[in-house]
Symmetry: C2
Subunit: 236 residues, 2 copies
């Protein structure tokens, strides 16, 4: 077992909580769990091993080598799983991330999307890797409960969901977020961290701006998404 490789078909959950989420929500994808010799043989250990075995997931103990994956973290448990694909539900609202580049942001947005029970996330390439263990960690396990799908272009996504109403979030938009009357099902669209959405999106659906002071250029991407998801959720 080596370091995570984006091109391979497997990835890893680093840590006990994430590995529990994997076994509880996507047991069919889990292949092995590794337990460090430093992990106490306590109640958590017993639960983990029982859950793994009941799902026919191999438990590998005391294999020090693999914990190199976890870098400096104090990781006692690692899960190994087959990468999976999801379909986005047609009847529910979606988030579209156009070229997100930061794994921490991507993971946090998956977490916020789960918190607001969004139907799923479309990720337009080029984009950060949702299966990188760093992204998985920042989802706090929400990667296993929120559908996501990669697309090569926004057009590919839009063709698949022609009845969704698009709300591109852009600093050049005229409509402010408090004014929006969301029409279901919605697609909330967000651009890259550094560059935002291209101007073309001004001609798509209802472009929206989150009102903000001139003291900053913009909000952090995951903050903008969270504010939008919260506002959508309480107004729908």
């Amino acid at each position: 077992m080596q370091k995570y490789d984006k091109r391979e078909k497997i990835s890893y959950t680093l840590g006990t909580t994430l590995t529990f989420e994997l076994l509880l929500r996507k047991p069919e994808c889990a292949t092995k769990i590794y337990i460090s010799p430093k992990q106490k043989r306590d109640e958590t250990y017993e639960k983990l091993v029982k859950l793994a075995r009941s799902n026919n997931v191999k438990v590998i103990e005391n294999n020090e080598k693999i914990f190199g994956l976890a870098d400096k973290e104090n990781v006692m448990v690692i899960g190994e799983f087959n990468k999976f694909s999801c379909e986005l539900p047609n009847e529910k609202s979606h988030v579209v991330l156009n070229n997100p580049s930061n794994m921490g942001n991507l993971g946090t947005i998956v977490r916020a999307s789960a918190a607001f029970d969004i139907g799923g996330i479309a990720i337009i390439r080029p984009a950060a890797d949702i299966f990188d263990p760093k992204t998985i960690r920042s989802t706090m396990g929400a990667i296993f409960s929120t559908p996501f799908k990669y697309y090569n272009s926004y057009e590919d996504y839009a063709k698949e969901f022609p009845t969704h109403n698009a709300y591109p979030f852009m600093l050049k938009a005229k409509t402010t977020l408090p004014e929006v009357k969301f029409q279901e099902p919605c697609t909330l669209v967000f651009g890259n961290e550094a560059t935002g959405l291209p101007d073309d999106f001004l001609n798509i659906g209802t472009p929206v701006i989150i009102p903000q002071s001139s003291k900053v250029d913009s909000l952090n991407l995951d903050n903008a998404v969270s504010i939008a998801l919260y506002t959508y959720t309480i107004n729908k």
Copy 2:
């Protein structure tokens, strides 16, 4: 010049944009700027040098050694400044962060607080270091426009601002965020990333919960703060 040391009285802005923010918003604290030999002698360079000189800030060129500070980043410009202290304005609303531990979160919250023009941020120790260059980077320069002050306890903060109305954000709160009628001036209080606020805060002011699904344990701290600040701002 060495690596950043928390105990020292100076810190650094890593990068051109942050260094401009320093020179524009806190020129009285800036002491030196370092310019890498790799920095093109272009219009940005001319502006930077002119701005520094007009503020009596020493410009040091071609000193390769100091760029070790910047780790792997492609940093061409570094600003050096004296750490400063701020007072929080009494008439405006505040954010209180109780024991924030993550520098990225702290920086992003400073950025969001500037975006929503909050009066200032009280940071209750133990807490992440706002002057660490990593925190400064994640503020995107907002550290130079948003007042902040460290306190040893929430009580110390509350004694200084007895007429502020506290809204502690807690998963155990009964009042949901959409129900809150904010009474000015407000103090929006948030706990540590892993542990939230202690139960004592249930007896302070109006505890508030951001409604969220059971799919996640909680929102990321900076996401929760952003949602609260946005909601406060549009309803005040």
